[in-house]
């Protein structure tokens, strides 16, 4: 239960004479006890951003506050103590290969100076939490990817942190395993009230567990808001691209784009009325359904459709108005190629 405040954070890397700005005046407030998603394409700066939260990357300018403590004002020793209060898990798990499961989980406790007996008891309890109590003596090389990430989660929780940072924690896992890890994170958040920061490039991860999301592009936050809000009515191209998939992957928008394509989003409550059918009947004009999908956004079923509307502009606007009146969100899909 800790609040994270990021103010005017800028990070520049000097490399061979030229400067790379990884983060450019980032401002974020991550509420205590929330699951906060930071999403962006690779190279957007999200990894640097998450590493600034525990000061593995020191900002060039700006500050990071954790519960109103400015990390810049801490001595190296105080900073290390603070870090013990911030757990972190990684895409590559980063377990010690030469240590078995229980010794991996007790490592942060040994670093914190906890007695061996106490550390073991704690580790066993955590292994039960992540469902690996029978793997205590196994070495990481014997575990599957999902099991390794579970060990890493147990290790990250060993020091009872208030914050858990997840850096692409499910990106190396298959969809089912990824889902089970996300469920575990959600459960941990509910049960322990830990603030969880999730870095990812997959919208599905965000819609699965996050409350709020920030979209990072070229080192800047281009959009921020509740997941529901951003999924329903994305304002920036970056957000739209993350929701509908990459440009280079097969996208009906690119193939059928006639400039008349709209994206509509409906939630569970509006799904009772046959809006599309009614629209067709009312306007007596065909509507082409280019894509239809449902997604789980924060436990709510959200439907998404791409519709090809008629050429006639007046008719098109009338249709969009009609759909909007039915409580559905409508956005024109621009050709963003």
């Amino acid at each position: 239960m800790s609040e994270i405040k990021i103010r005017h954070l800028t990070k520049r890397f000097e490399a061979e004479g030229h400067t790379l700005t990884a983060l450019d005046d980032v401002n974020l407030t991550i509420g205590s006890g929330s699951i906060y998603g930071i999403i962006g394409m690779s190279g957007a700066g999200k990894s640097t951003l998450v590493r600034s939260i525990n000061y593995l990357e020191k900002p060039t300018e700006g500050s990071v506050f954790i519960d109103d403590t400015d990390l810049a004002e801490l001595s190296p020793k105080e900073l290390r103590k603070k870090r013990a209060n911030i757990g972190m898990i990684f895409q590559g798990f980063n377990l010690l290969e030469q240590k078995n499961v229980i010794d991996n989980v007790t490592l942060p406790l040994k670093i914190a100076g906890t007695s061996k007996k106490e550390a073991r008891e704690k580790a066993r309890a955590l292994l039960r939490t992540v469902g690996l109590e029978d793997k205590e003596r196994a070495y990481p090389s014997r575990l599957s990817g999902g099991q390794k990430q579970r060990v890493a989660i147990a290790r990250a929780l060993a020091t009872d942190p208030q914050i858990l940072l997840c850096d692409e924690a499910t990106s190396a896992l298959d969809p089912q395993t990824s889902k089970s890890i996300l469920d575990l994170l959600k459960e941990i958040n509910t049960r322990l009230g830990i603030t969880i920061v999730v870095i990812t490039h997959q919208m599905s991860v965000v819609t699965e567990i996050c409350d709020r999301v920030a979209i990072v592009e070229n080192g800047r936050i281009v959009e921020e808001g509740s997941v529901d809000e951003i999924f329903t009515s994305p304002k920036t191209d970056a957000a739209r691209e993350l929701i509908s998939g990459k440009k280079d992957s097969f996208s009906p928008v690119d193939r059928f784009d006639t400039g008349n394509v709209v994206r509509i989003v409906f939630s569970e409550n509006s799904a009772f009325e046959p809006v599309i059918a009614n629209t067709i009947l009312k306007f007596n004009t065909p509507i082409n359904i280019l894509k239809a999908d449902t997604r789980n956004v924060n436990g709510q079923a959200k439907g998404e459709m791409l519709l090809g509307l008629p050429e006639d502009e007046d008719l098109r606007i009338a249709i969009m108005e009609y759909i909007k009146e039915r409580g559905l969100s409508v956005t024109e899909v621009k050709d963003h190629a």
Binding site: L56, R80, M88, L96, I111, S141
Partner: protein
Amino acid sequence: MLEQKAIIMLLEGIRDTLYMTLVSTLIGYVIGLPMGIVLNLTRPDGLKPNRIIYRILDFICNIIRSVPFLILLILLIPFTRAVVGQSYGSSATIVPLVICAAPYIARVVEASLNEVDAGVIEAAKAMGASNIQIIFRVLLVEAKTSLMAGATITTGILLGYSAMSGTVGGGGLGDIAVRYGYYRWQTDIMIVTVVLLIVIFQIIQNLGSKITAFFDHRKK
């Protein structure tokens, strides 16, 4: 076959060779291991980059390693005499062996530590580990088997160098081979010492590999 005197001499030779090899490896590690750790820490992408310290250690390692052992052996005679009191015999040979081995060990250790996955080090930092804790709880633990393999190779090399010191009265099997095989033309003794050296080398190498494999949990 060989007379009893020669057998006793060869047994003493084995004892002296093992003594020189093992003691110089041990002392070599006492100096080389911390040196290797410091090299790894102070390198540009290390835990505590320090250009000056790195450059100095790097320079010392390169200088000593670029002098052929036989020349180092002769060059160090006055120093050896000052330390041990004499410049011949197996105890005296340990001095140049250690001086030759330490920078070599430092390099082997540095290379082993460099192999440790940067992600694991980052994870330890994120846990709030200090550099000392990272060295002892992560770097040395993860590099354990690589360090063991390095120690095995080092011991084998020092076995060879200890034999080379025989040319300047270093004692051990090499000394016997030079004195009997070279100066007195007693080929039989020379062949026996060579066979013994081969056997000892094989034992060291196999034992080292077995121990290393036993402690390696990465692929089991």
